[in-house]
């Protein structure tokens, strides 16, 4: 564990934070250097052909530009430094920048400062926050947000994911470990392996969910409908579902009980499987066609590769000959070798940073669903494989692309580029999207500098889960389907108005964020500047300053009360909650 570095990073951040909203710091730096020149336009490095000497970035830029030319689109201007800095913090480490981080970036005048910031966010200083953010993202992908499934241990899943991301586990290794995991799903137990949580809640009914989810997440194939019938409008055939399902027949989940009722932990093991016909050397399963006829299936991968039909796990006889096969192991090898795996990964990553992938939905790469940028998708997937599936490199390429640095302001020449109305995305401007709830949570901690006191461990994660649960609606189906009311709905607004988290964030208590600003040596306008920088990464307009002054009058000089009003308004704004 790289504890020393992260401690250094944390100490540095605290120091910077104190420097900015210092308790008694007269004459300190005017809160972030949002000078007029810095606001006006991005630095020179935003030239169309600048790719920081990275061939993959050049490739992305060329492909995206070609798409603009085809669609006769004129891309928007570059985002401001402040906007880009906020965006890249949100997307890579899951929270907005601190005022100190913002200032450091804005005042940096080196041409390659974007590359430097991405390198820093992907580096040792931020490894804990990076891992936490991507563990959040992947926990949702792999097991959803609902906490209702007894067969899943969220802390165990999260712990494994955090470790995987903190050491930048190559993506092929990541997939293999999840698909082949054996061991106990709960931390602290003997033989703990958190990766088992991907499958531990999906093995009932012969692993139907394990089959569907593995295909969906790692191959971008939607096969769930073909469980019961050939797909009505794509090439999916019922036999393919069951041939894929056959890979999950050697896996067993064993429940460990605490006392008499509660499942304490699940252990995932591989066992010899006799097949439904009773001959383990030819272990088959049967499925039912819609006309009632029964059909037999052996393990066959989605590309048609047939596998040793034996149900025995690999073993050696006395004479030295070997027999048997570990079906999940073979499946993982086939997935890793498949061209679909890097395509699915690259598509998912792209959609994380741009709000839209090259296909909709992002995890459907079937032939019936033509991608918006087929050559870019294929080319990026190939490059990802060539780079040994280095996830951080993929992130670097995407975040340093020209498209990622564009403003979200729609220009005269690209109004039609609007995927929210069903158009194929052309990425000619940055698409607005609401923060994920996890991002909002972390951002509120950051904006109020409350994260300095917060540990980054499991306890904090559980607190966050508890907070998140108010937005989760579980449909109670076997598939674990769920929805969220964190979608711009009234309950979400009410939470932002009055929720506990907001009460804490806007508290005027002694030593809290607002109190520290109120009692700092800053002038009143500087205090308002500090609030705007912390939440919105910009300076207030004249009008906003005027309104803030009116609040000060209305509060009869109660400065901290007026700051609270401003802070409440700032945090409740569209500009705060929307990644732009």
């Amino acid at each position: 564990m790289p504890i020393p570095t992260s401690l250094v990073a944390r100490c540095r951040r605290i120091a910077l934070a104190i420097a900015v909203i210092g308790l008694s710091a007269p004459g300190l730096v005017p809160v972030p250097g949002l000078s007029a020149t810095a606001r006006a336009a991005g630095p020179k490095d935003r030239d169309a052909d600048d790719h920081f000497g990275i061939a993959q970035v050049k490739f992305i830029n060329e492909q995206i530009s070609a798409g603009w030319a085809d669609a006769k689109l004129k891309p928007s201007d570059a985002a401001t430094d402040q906007e880009w800095c906020r965006r890249v913090h949100l997307d890579i480490i899951g929270r907005i920048p601190t005022t100190a981080e913002l200032e450091a970036y804005v005042s940096d005048s080196t041409p390659s400062k974007r590359a430097a910031l991405v390198a820093r966010l992907l580096g040792d200083d931020y490894v804990d926050e990076y891992a936490r953010n991507w563990a959040d993202v992947w926990t949702t992908v792999l097991i959803g947000r609902s906490t209702e499934n007894d067969n899943v241990n969220r802390p165990g899943m999260r712990q494994w994911l955090k470790r995987a991301f903190s050491k930048n586990m190559p993506y092929d290794r990541f997939v293999t470990e999840l698909v082949t995991a054996t061991g106990v799903n709960k931390a602290g137990e003997k033989d703990f392996n958190g990766a088992t949580n991907f499958l531990s809640g999906k093995l009932e009914e012969n692993g139907i969910q394990a089959t569907a989810k593995t295909a969906q997440v790692f191959l971008g194939l939607q096969v769930q409908c073909t469980q019961c019938h050939n797909h009505p409008f794509n090439k999916g055939k019922q036999n393919q579902f069951w041939e894929l399902n056959a890979f999950f027949r050697q896996v067993r989940s064993l429940r460990r009980f605490e006392g008499t009722r509660d499942v304490q932990a699940i252990e995932i093991v591989d066992e010899d499987w006799a097949g439904e016909g009773g001959d383990a050397s030819q272990a088959e399963l049967y499925y039912e066609l819609r006309n009632g006829q029964m059909k037999m299936a052996f393990p066959v991968f989605v590309d048609g590769t047939a596998v040793d039909p034996s149900g025995y796990l690999p073993a050696t006889m006395e004479d030295g000959t070997t027999y048997g096969v570990n079906r999940r192991r073979v499946l993982s090898e086939l997935i890793v070798d498949s061209p679909l795996m890097p395509k699915a990964a690259v598509n998912r990553a792209w959609s994380h940073f741009f709000g839209y992938g090259f296909t909709r939905p992002v995890d459907d790469l079937g032939d019936h669903n033509a991608p918006s940028h087929p050559e870019l998708l294929d080319g990026l997937a190939e490059r990802f494989r060539e780079q040994s599936f280095d996830v951080k490199e993929l992130i670097r390429w995407i975040t340093l692309s020209r498209a990622y640095a564009l403003s979200s302001k729609v220009g005269k020449g690209n109004g039609v580029d609007d995927p929210s109305i069903g158009e194929k995305p052309r990425f000619s401007h940055f698409y607005l999207r609401q923060m994920r709830p996890e991002e909002l949570y972390q951002s509120l901690l950051t904006a109020t500098a409350a994260d300095e006191a917060e540990d980054n461990g499991e306890k904090a994660a559980r607190k966050k889960d508890e907070w998140l649960s108010q937005f989760i609606i579980a449909f109670g189906t076997d598939e674990g389907d769920e929805a969220t009311t964190f979608n711009g709905s009234i309950p979400q607004v009410l939470m932002m108005f009055n929720g506990e988290l907001m009460k804490t964030a806007t508290s005027t208590g002694k030593g809290g964020f607002l109190d520290r600003i109120a009692s700092s040596g800053l002038s009143n306008p500087q205090k308002i500047d500090a609030l705007y920088a912390a939440a919105l990464a910009r300076k207030p307009t004249k009008k906003e300053v005027g309104l803030a002054n009116q609040l000060l009058v209305a509060r009869k000089g109660d400065a901290v009360g007026a700051l609270q009003d401003v802070w409440w308004a700032v945090l409740n704004s569209n500009e705060f909650i929307i990644n732009h």
Binding site: C225, C228, R360, P361, D364, S408, K409, V410, D418, S420, I421, G422, E423, Y431, L432, R433, Q434, Q470, I473, F475, G476, T477, D478, E479, D481, A483, T485, N487, G488, S489, I490, P491, Q492, V493, L494, M495, F497, N498, G499, L536, T541, K543, E544, L547, A548, Q550, L551, A554, D565, V566, W568, A569, V570, N572, S573, N574, E575, I577, I578, H580
Partner: protein
């Protein structure tokens, strides 16, 4: 947009603007319908129409509830019993509903193709199969959108979902999104803890920030946020929120609906409709019975359903509300006639039943028929869009209405489904 949200006298320019914007929105998506709704507005207001959807999440086995097949190998152990409607028999585990069937109609000839939960849920809620490029509005959004003008004094959201998430407003926009509450009617975070004048001052500040961001033309979600803010502020100041408080009902009434989440949800639906809410969805999950289905139904699901649903129908009828309130009972699909090796039934969409009642529906009738083993519809099959068209007709909503999706494509209301004629006198 840089206008204060509220002025001292209450009605701000922005508030007024939002009404105007609402009117403009109506003119856009539903031009053909605008005239007719204005003509009918007075009439509709007098007898304000509403719909309650009882959503059975997971896919209930309708062969064990509304369309029994005693004696068939697929029939299961439940016996049919006679009901207050001549010639209609339903499950022995629905004795209370049996006394209300003269208010209801059964469509035993539903035949759909979506047997995946999420796809079926979407299809039955919208009349459209899922499409990656367009999100369609659900029942609640469509009905709230069409009927909102008939209840101009309504301050609380016109589309409430109790105990579940329903399906969203699609291209009609977040203004018509479901307001989701739990079955206890608790709405979280309602207490502002500051006095109203200070709230107004804060909102003025907030409005300035919202307006600036919207003015920068970054896309529609900036403006959607502001609209939901407006709606939330309305709620915060409304006494109509009392309608959510089921505990205000006399204890015998609460008792009648049953001390269950679904029971409280149904009671809340009646209170909300009384207050003017045009659409309420009440969710009862737990129907995904792949194993041990008959014990689950007889000991658990059906008693809970029977008590609450029968109380709702009876209560609406006694209060004279049933003639204006459509009640729809359905899930995303039904379950296989064949009983599987675990004593359960799996997903089945080909032949199943929905129940409707109230509003303009004919009472005490059965529409359609399935084969003796329940595996086929032997009469004319009906689809989700047909059902939706029928529900809209029962509420007096014009089926000529055409919406315009965000990409400019015209979308016929209820996906141009055809009305199930037998449901109307």
């Amino acid at each position: 947009m840089a206008l204060p949200l509220f002025t001292v006298d209450g009605m701000s320019r922005r508030h007024l603007m939002s009404h105007l914007a609402g009117a403009a929105a109506l003119a856009g998506p539903a031009t053909a319908f605008t005239n007719s709704i204005l003509a009918n507005a007075a009439d509709l207001k007098k007898r304000h129409k509403a719909a309650i959807l009882l959503w059975m999440g997971g896919g209930p086995s309708t062969m064990d509830i509304w369309d029994l097949k005693p004696g068939a190998s697929t029939g299961g152990p439940f016996r049919p019993i006679s009901t207050s409607a001549d010639g209609i028999q339903i499950s022995e585990h629905m004795p209370l509903m049996a006394k209300q069937m003269h208010h209801m109609a059964l469509v035993r000839s539903m035949s759909t193709r979506e047997a995946d939960h999420m796809r079926g849920r979407y299809y039955m809620h919208t009349g459209y199969v899922p499409n990656p490029n367009v999100e369609h509005p659900s029942y609640g959004a469509v009905i709230a959108h069409e009927l909102a003008d008939t209840v101009p004094d309504l301050e609380i959201p016109p589309f409430v979902s109790v105990g579940g998430g329903s399906v969203g407003p699609g291209f009609l926009g977040m203004t018509w999104a479901p307001f989701v509450v739990d079955s206890n009617g608790n709405v979280r975070n309602l207490d502002m803890g500051i006095d109203p004048s200070r709230l107004s001052q804060r909102l003025e500040m907030l409005d300035a920030i919202e307006g600036k961001f919207i003015g920068e033309k970054r896309g529609p979600s900036a403006e959607d946020h502001a609209k939901v803010l407006d709606k939330t502020i309305k709620i915060l100041r409304s006494e109509q929120m009392e309608a959510f408080k089921v505990s205000k009902e006399p204890s015998d009434v609460q008792e009648r609906y049953g001390n269950t989440g679904f029971g409280r949800g149904c009671l809340m639906a009646r209170r909300l409709v009384e207050q003017g809410v045009p659409f309420v969805e009440v969710d009862l999950g737990g129907w995904d019975n792949h194993a041990d289905i008959f014990r689950t139904l007889s000991d658990n699901k059906l008693p809970e359903l029977d008590k609450a649903m029968s109380a709702l129908i009876e209560d609406l009828s006694e209060r004279g509300m049933l003639d204006d309130t459509a009640v729809v009972w359905m899930g995303e699909f039904s379950r296989t006639p064949n009983i599987n090796g675990n004593g359960g039934r799996d997903h089945w969409a080909r032949s199943w039943t929905v129940a409707v009642g109230g509003a303009g529906f004919k009472r005490g009738v059965v529409v359609g028929e399935t084969s003796s083993d329940g595996k086929e519809v032997v009469t004319e099959p009906y689809s989700s869009q047909d059902l939706m068209a029928s529900v809209l007709k029962s509420l007096g909503i014009s089926l000529e209405t055409t919406f315009t999706a965000k990409n400019g494509r015209p979308m016929k209301i209820a996906n141009a489904g055809k009305v199930i004629k037998e449901l109307f006198a």
